[in-house]
């Protein structure tokens, strides 16, 4: 697959959820190496769009992925009971039995990176403080990284990211996006990310899809997110977020 090659085409997508029409008349396409941000208010159908793209819900219209493409999915923050008797290692082993590979993926998503100058210590830290701990004991940021690692274990060509920073404090948020940037740059990964934060969209995405059940805008962030579509999307006040470049 070469850069810029089309890997996803969506045409006239419609989806219903509990009998209610959530998505209508949605068309867009994604090329290899794109970062497509999907923005819209709560209940706009962003997560439903992901579910349709993953084939988890019925839909009408066309969703066409390039052949042989591996799609990874990082769900919105999942709430795990602190008391749940499941270690991080067991969780990751549902997908990958090879511990060395698990450790290398955990390193690549920056878990325990404060020890990265001492590789031996880093591995020990990962084993003792991450892998053998209960999954529910991880901090919000660690959990998000473990979920990214979970998706990366499949060696995906495309990552679908549902609100990567929900429930993470601002400093953690910044580094999660740096990680996404690294994955995008280093692995040339294509990404679709749902975000509520327009700043993030300007900073990281090369395309944006605004969604409020139907498509409000689509294109590069600086052209697509004009005052008119922002007003349609969020009501009056959102216009102030517009960056003039």
């Amino acid at each position: 697959m070469t850069q810029g090659e089309n890997i996803l085409t969506v045409k006239n997508l419609e989806a219903r959820f509990d009998g209610e029409e959530i998505l209508k008349n949605l068309s867009f396409s994604v090329n290899k190496g794109d970062v497509l941000a999907i923005v819209g208010p709560n209940g706009a159908g962003k997560s439903v769009l992901f579910r349709a793209l993953l084939g988890l819900i019925p839909y009408s219209g066309k969703i066409e992925w390039a052949k042989g493409l591996r799609v990874g999915y990082v769900p919105q923050k999942i709430a795990i009971d602190r008391e749940l008797p499941l270690s991080t290692e067991e969780f990751l082993k549902f997908k990958e039995k090879d511990e060395a590979r698990i450790i290398s993926v955990l390193k690549s998503v920056g878990i325990g990176s404060e020890h990265k100058n001492n590789p031996e210590h880093h591995v020990r830290h990962l084993k003792q403080h991450v892998l053998s701990q209960r999954l529910g004991w991880l901090s919000g940021g660690q959990m998000q990284r473990v979920l990214i690692a979970w998706a990366l274990l499949d060696n995906p060509d495309v990552l679908l990211f549902d609100e990567p920073t929900a429930g993470i404090d601002v400093s953690g948020e910044e580094t999660i996006y740096n990680l996404l940037k690294k994955l995008h740059g280093g692995r040339n990964m294509t990404m679709l990310l749902i975000s509520h934060d327009l700043n993030i969209v300007y900073k990281y995405a090369n395309n944006v899809l605004c969604l409020n059940k139907e498509m409000i805008c689509y294109g590069t962030p600086s052209t697509a997110l004009d005052t008119e579509s922002l007003t349609k999307l969020y009501g009056g006040e959102a216009g102030i977020y517009k960056h003039e470049h």
Binding site: R51, L54, L56, Y73, P75, I78, I80, E83, L84, P85, L86, S87, E89, E90, F91, F94, K95, S132, Q133, R134, L135, W150
Partner: protein, 254 residues
């Protein structure tokens, strides 16, 4: 075979199976459902007695209907509708109390381990072995479904099908355990060992193993206590499980 060995072996096998399925009942927040579920067996036993069928089959049929109901409710609402389950299942207990002939009533409510024979051991052993094998195969996937339905679906795990298999196994172990601990208390043998194991475990392997060990231990302790004090084993088994639970509270990992 000596009656005591027969009882110990049968009881231990039931404790083992109850511990395993119980560990997932607790994780799925179905503790109350598990408890109420065991009451459903009573009208099944009563109807079986009225028609002179083996009470095990009556109990199992009633439990099977109940798990189908729970399965549908879960599928529709994601969460087990505890109120509805509570009402329907205690109603069926009331119905069972009215229908069960007086002489058999105590036995149905509290079990009667002295009526366990070699055939019961054989049936229990066969069913528990199958239960352990199936649980072992589906436990990882069930766990994933508990953590995140979306992650499980994205991995193409057939959650609803697995839930049904799981509930079926619950019905099997509850029906098998009725002779040992009775309808009133079988739910507790499913739930308490697992709750105790949850107090002390950091990972799934440890948790399910401990839950099975506690299940077996409760049954063995309870059977000896019942012999020693000359009382019915159902209550002593459940009290033993309760004692283990209290002990684990002190070992609880923060």
């Amino acid at each position: 075979m000596d009656a005591l060995y027969l009882q110990l072996l049968t009881g231990s096998l039931i404790g083992l199976g109850a511990g395993y399925v119980g560990s997932f009942m607790v994780l799925r927040r179905m503790s109350l459902v598990g408890d109420a579920l065991s009451h459903v067996a009573l009208p099944g036993i009563a109807i079986a007695l009225l028609f002179s069928i083996n009470p095990f089959f009556g109990a199992f049929a009633a439990l099977f209907l109940a798990i189908v109901l729970i399965w549908f409710l879960e599928k529709r609402t994601e969460l087990p509708s505890e109120t509805l389950v509570g009402i329907m299942f205690t109603l069926s207990l009331a119905l069972g109390l009215l229908l069960t002939p007086e002489p058999e009533l105590l036995e149905a409510l509290f079990g009667d381990i002295t009526k366990i024979f070699a055939t019961d051991l054989a049936i229990t052993a066969g069913a528990v072995v199958i239960l352990l094998v199936v649980m072992h195969r589906i436990s990882g996937k069930l766990m994933l479904g508990i953590i995140s339905k979306e992650l499980a679906q994205a991995m193409k795990i057939p959650i609803h099908k697995l839930n049904f298999i799981f509930l079926f196994l619950v019905a099997v172990i509850v029906a098998l355990g009725l002779k040992v601990v009775g309808t009133l208390l079988m739910g507790s043998l499913v739930i308490i060992p697992a709750a105790a194991a949850k107090n002390t475990s950091t990972n799934l392997t440890q948790y399910t193993k401990l839950s099975m060990i506690f299940g077996v231990l409760s049954t063995i302790l309870g059977l000896f206590a019942s012999r020693y004090f000359g009382i019915s084993p159902g209550p002593t088994i459940v009290i033993s499980a309760g004692a283990i639970f209290v002990a684990t509270l002190f070992l609880k990992r923060k």
